[in-house]
Symmetry: C2
Subunit: 328 residues, 2 copies
C-alpha cells in the first residue's frame, strides 16, 4: 500500500440497493452513494452502472489514485474464490442466461485496477465491528445480524471463520424446533431464521393473533400486513401480546446462543440489524433465556451486546474493512 493510498471503498450489495462509500483508516465514511440492485438484469449492465457511479464518486470527491482496496459484502459470496455463488435473490444473466457463479472480485479488480476482497454481508459486518466497532481488541466473538433473515459472522482467534469451503457461519439455519418447526426459506423446518428474523417476529405475531383471543392493538390492522415494526410499536404502546412476541423471540435466541457458546466460547455475541432497534424489548428476554439455558461452566462469561456501528454506515463500513485486508 503506497502512502498516498489511504482510503478504501466498501460496497454492500443488498437485495434492493447497492450502497458504496469511501472510508478512511479510522472508519469515517467520507463520501457515499448508491444504485439500485436489479432483481433481474444482465450482469454486464449492472457492473457498468456500478463502475460509472463509483468512479464518478471517487473522481468528484478527489480520491482518484488514493484507493488502496475495495471490499464487498454480498449474499452467498465466497472469500476464498472471490465468487458470488448461486445467490437466492439475485438473478443475474449473461446474454439472457442465468449466471450461477459470478467471479465478482475478479471483475471489479479488472475494472478498478485495485485489490478486491469479497465476503457475505454478515461476515463483512463482523469485520467492520472488529475494525471500527464494539469488537475492537476482541479475538473471539460472534456477530448475529437480525434483519429480513438471520446471518452470522464468527471470529475465532482474531480471524473470520470461513470453513473449508468459505461458507461457514450460517447460524440462521441451525435447527431450533425439531418438532412442528416452521418452514424456513431454505426449504427445511425449524431454523433460527424462521423465528428470530424480522419476518419471523411478524410470523410469531400472526400466530399469536390467530391462536389467542386476547385484545391487542395489532388486531386493528389487516393481519397479513403486520411487520416487525408494527409489533415493536404495539409493544412500546404497552400491548401485552406484542411484548410476548418479543419475549418468545428472545427466548429462542437465548437458546441458540447457549449452543453457540458451547461451540466457540466467544467473549461477546454482538447483535446487528433492524431488529436491534427494539432495544431492551429483545435484549432482556435474550439475556434471561441465555442465562437459563447456558452450560454452567460458561455462565456469565459471554456478553450479549448491540453493535456500535451506526446503522446507516454499517454495511459500507463492514465491507470497507475487508478492503484493508485486500490491500495488505
Amino acid at each position: 500500500m503506497s502512502e498516498t493510498k489511504q482510503y478504501v471503498v466498501g460496497i454492500d450489495i443488498g437485495g434492493t440497493n447497492t450502497v458504496f462509500g469511501i472510508v478512511d483508516a479510522t472508519g469515517n465514511v467520507l463520501a457515499s452513494s448508491s444504485i439500485k440492485t436489479p432483481a433481474k438484469a444482465e450482469l454486464k449492465e449492472y457492473i457498468d452502472q456500478l463502475y460509472t457511479a463509483l468512479s464518478t464518486l471517487i473522481k468528484n470527491e478527489g480520491y482518484e489514485g488514493k484507493i488502496a482496496g475495495i471490499g464487498v459484502g454480498a449474499p452467498n459470496a465466497c472469500y476464498y474464490t472471490g465468487n458470488i455463488e448461486k445467490p437466492a435473490n439475485l438473478y443475474w444473466t449473461e446474454n439472457g442466461e442465468r449466471l450461477e457463479v459470478i467471479p465478482f472480485a475478479a471483475i471489479l479488480k479488472e475494472k478498478f485496477g485495485v485489490p478486491v476482497a469479497i465476503t457475505n454481508d454478515a461476515n463483512a459486518a463482523a469485520i467492520g465491528e472488529m475494525t471500527y466497532g464494539a469488537a475492537r481488541g476482541m479475538k473471539d466473538f460472534i456477530m448475529i445480524t437480525l434483519g429480513t433473515g438471520v446471518g452470522s459472522g464468527i471470529v475465532v482467534n482474531g480471524q473470520l471463520l470461513y470453513g473449508h469451503d468459505g461458507f461457514a457461519g450460517e447460524l440462521g439455519h441451525v435447527t431450533m424446533r425439531r418438532e412442528n418447526g416452521r418452514i424456513c426459506g431454505c426449504g427445511r423446518n425449524g431454523c433460527l431464521e424462521a423465528y428470530a428474523s424480522a419476518t419471523g417476529v411478524a410470523r410469531t405475531a400472526r400466530e399469536y393473533l390467530e391462536t389467542r383471543t386476547e385484545a391487542s392493538l395489532l388486531r386493528n390492522m389487516p393481519i397479513d400486513t403486520i411487520t416487525s415494526k408494527d409489533v415493536y410499536d404495539a409493544a412500546m404502546a404497552g400491548d401485552n401480546l406484542a411484548r410476548e412476541v418479543f419475549n418468545f423471540t428472545g427466548e429462542i435466541l437465548g437458546e441458540a446462543f447457549a449452543d453457540f457458546i458451547a461451540f466457540s466460547s466467544p467473549k461477546a455475541i454482538i447483535l446487528f440489524g433492524g431488529l436491534t432497534k427494539s432495544g431492551d424489548l429483545i435484549m432482556r428476554p435474550i439475556r434471561e433465556s441465555l442465562d437459563r439455558h447456558i452450560l454452567k461452566n460458561f455462565r456469565g462469561k459471554t456478553e450479549v451486546i448491540f453493535s456500535q456501528l451506526k446503522e446507516a454506515d454499517a454495511a459500507v463500513l463492514g465491507a470497507s474493512a475487508l478492503g484493508w485486508e485486500a490491500a495488505k
Copy 2:
C-alpha cells in the same frame, strides 16, 4: 528443541487410569505405562506417583535427557492457563481441602524441567488426529469423541478452537431435544451427550424395552445392567430393537452434525471413542440423517469418518502431539 530431544511424552488422565507414553516424531508409542487415577487423593501423592512412574519409564527405556516436551490430556483442562479447573470426577485435595483449580502444567514443568502443555482429552484427540491420523493436512475439521460422554475438539484454519476462555468445544452439550429432553449429567435437559454417548445408547435401549412390547435379545438380561456393548452384540446378532437403538442414535448425531457444519463448515467430522467400534451400525444412520438435515449449500461437502488412531494408543498419542507444541 535440541537435536537430541527427539521424543515427547503424552499423558492421558482418564477417570480410572492415567496412561503415559514416550512417542517419536512419526507417532510411534515407544514405551508406555500407567497408574491408577485416584477418585479422591492428596494431589501431592498423585503427582509423586506419576513422577516416579514416568521418570522410571524414561530412565529404564533410555530416554533420559531426550524428552522435548510433555503434553497432557485431562478433563476440564485449560490450554491458556495450564490449569485443571473444577473437574467433575476428580477429587484432589491439599491437606484434605478440595482443590478447585490445579496448576497442573506448572507443577509438571517444575518436576520434569521440560515444557508442558495441557488441554482437555477431546482437544488432545483432535491434535493427535491432525498430527498423526485421518486429519493430516486438514485445516478445518471437528473431532467428536463418543465414549462415556460426548466430547469434541474443533479445528479451524489449522488451529484448535479454544475460545476466549480456553473452554470452547463442548458439543456434547448442545441441546438436541428441547421438549421432554433427557436429563443430562450437566444438570440440563436434552443434551447430545444424553443420547449419543455409550451411556445414552444404553438409555435408549432401556427406554425402548420399557415402552415397546416386541421381542428382543436384550430382554434376556436385567434391564439395569444393559450396556452399549450389549446393544451392539444384540444388533450384530440381528436383533431389530437393538438396530433401531443405533438408528436413533445416528439420527440424533446426524441432526447435530448438520448444525455443526452450519457453524464451522469443516472438511470432515471425525468420530473417535468406544461407540465407533459399532462401525456401520452407527455410521450408516449418521450419514443418512446428516444428508436429510443438512442445509443444501453444504450437502455432500463434509465427510463423516472414523478416527485413524489406534484406540489403545490414541489418548497418549493425542496428548503427546501437544507435547510438540509445548516444545516449540
